[in-house]
Amino acid sequence: MSTKATNILVPVISVILGLIVGAIIMLVSGYNPVDGYLALWNGIFGDLYTVGETLRQITPYLLAGLAVAFAFRSGLFNIGVEGQLIVGWFAAAYVGVAVELPKIIHLPLALLAAAVAGALWGFVPGLLKAKFHVHEVIVTIMMNYIALHVTNALIKTVSGGGDRTESIFASASLRSEFFENLTEFSRLHYGIILALVMVGVMWFILEKTTLGFELKAVGFNHNASQYAGMNVNKNIVLAMVISGAFAGLGGAMEALGTFEYVSSKAGFTGIGFDGIAVALLGMNTPLGVIFGATLFGSLKYGALNMPNAAGIPLEIVEIVIAVIIFFVASGYVIRLFLLRAAKKKEAK
């Protein structure tokens, strides 16, 4: 079997195994898995409204997935997407409420603010990695908590002691009447188009520019890249900055599209961590991210229907997602299994 085929088979098998484990857990805990998955299916494709909302859910997942995947391609593990997304969310909402400008200036400005905030949050671990060889995983985890507490404090200051900001001005909103009419007034917004454009941007950077070539080279081998005359440190910082910018835009989707405000949070949104799952499942390629985001976004939104329609706690979907990540990470075993199966076939 070719490596390309196994590369695609590993995620597919992982998803199937994840769903099977989910079914077993439902069965053991006294629920009917068929009812459960039917409720999940209807939660995703039930009517135009749910389809619209599912697509809305996929939007930030696309960007979070891109952020993780982009860093991965440069050999960096960005667990900080969550924090970068939160600061992006705040920055976009802040620009959205602070000034009122013509739409043509206001909306891009708010998006830019989110991207810059996310990029800044990615810059710190990037710089520390390049200058002091500090492992980016730990720094980005710490940055997540700093982001959470700092934005909560800023929201309090901006709102004069409250828990959420005002709603943003219409001139900064991504809201789309066209999509609303199309999907029975779901909250689907223009952000999905932007997110898909960003998928194209990532593909373009990685495949068609010198920068992308260097980033990938650094991801494969630091020393070889250095020897070839590339500035490894600059590339590490750049990779984290671009990754952070994608994540910040993911936050802007929530700030300017879905909620149109930012509220203080007791815990994380989870979108950033699910971004890791999206990127892994998508094998860190732009096209793969679309598939990963579609799958996990759909699962996440469809799960909301499970408590009502089948009486099953929606956390079952989170369990399935965790199991899928586990299997994708353990791809070595699946590959080994596939290899043995292929050999057996040949022997016959």
Partner: protein, 319 residues
Amino acid sequence: MSFLEVLYFIVPSAIFYAAPLILVAIGGVFSERSGVINIGLEGLMVIGAFVGILFNLFFADTFGNATPWLSLIAAMVAALLLSLVHAVASISFRADQTVSGVAINLLAIALALYLVKKIFGKGQTDFITERFSRNDIPVLSDIPVIGPMFFSSVYYTSVLAIAVAIFAWFVIYKTPFGLRLRSVGEHPMAADTMGINVARMRYVAVMISGALAGIGGAIYAQTISGDFGHATINGQGFMALAAMIFGKWHPLGAMGAALFFGFAQSLSIVGPSIPYIQDIPNVFLLILPYVLTILALAGFIGRANAPKANGIPYIKGQR
């Protein structure tokens, strides 16, 4: 409030918040010293907290006063079993250890909440009735100044945490087991040629980290929160991870760092009633442990070096 009164107020509360962090950080030391990165500490703590509360609720009538302590054992076993998943993935299946840890974290919180909803029909458990009690330690609490600061109305769980830290230092630095553990984390191939079973050492280390994280989670839930919900642990495991790094992968260092982080945490909670500290915006106290960890890693507060083979799966015969 005089300075001494402030100390009497804040030192016990710092130790109180530090106890779970110490245990979990020590767990992290064991795992990472053997060469397995354990980001899953948070999830292991979550499972410990959940099982601890669950056991306490169900068996409070049967066991009475002893319930919280027995809950610790139940939590330890549960987290140990979950840590085996991480061990299998990262040692036998050669998975990326960070990714596997992330999966453990997602799995633990999802599984715990799923079961909470299944059993209680709502988002959090009931409050426990049997809690750990505070005791004066005999003799020691009568010492002036130090007595009221460290030894009166303490939780025995805090004593346990500090005892475990000292014991862990002894095990890691003064026993053959500890030497093997460290060698497997620094240079597994050399250890292997000397006849040490690398995989087995790593399995044991990860299981120890699971057991300690489970106990830590159960202590946190039974002393600080009193029930279990989605926000019960909320980053304590990551803070323990930070304490482990800040303590430079050394058991006593990790304990010191955990005490300091406990101090920062308690300041952010009791700070508003203490002069001078109440003038500092709360957010600075909240982010202090994380900022310090980053600074420590960057080498501004002494160099922190991870075990050499940390995070690298050992594959026999590979150079």
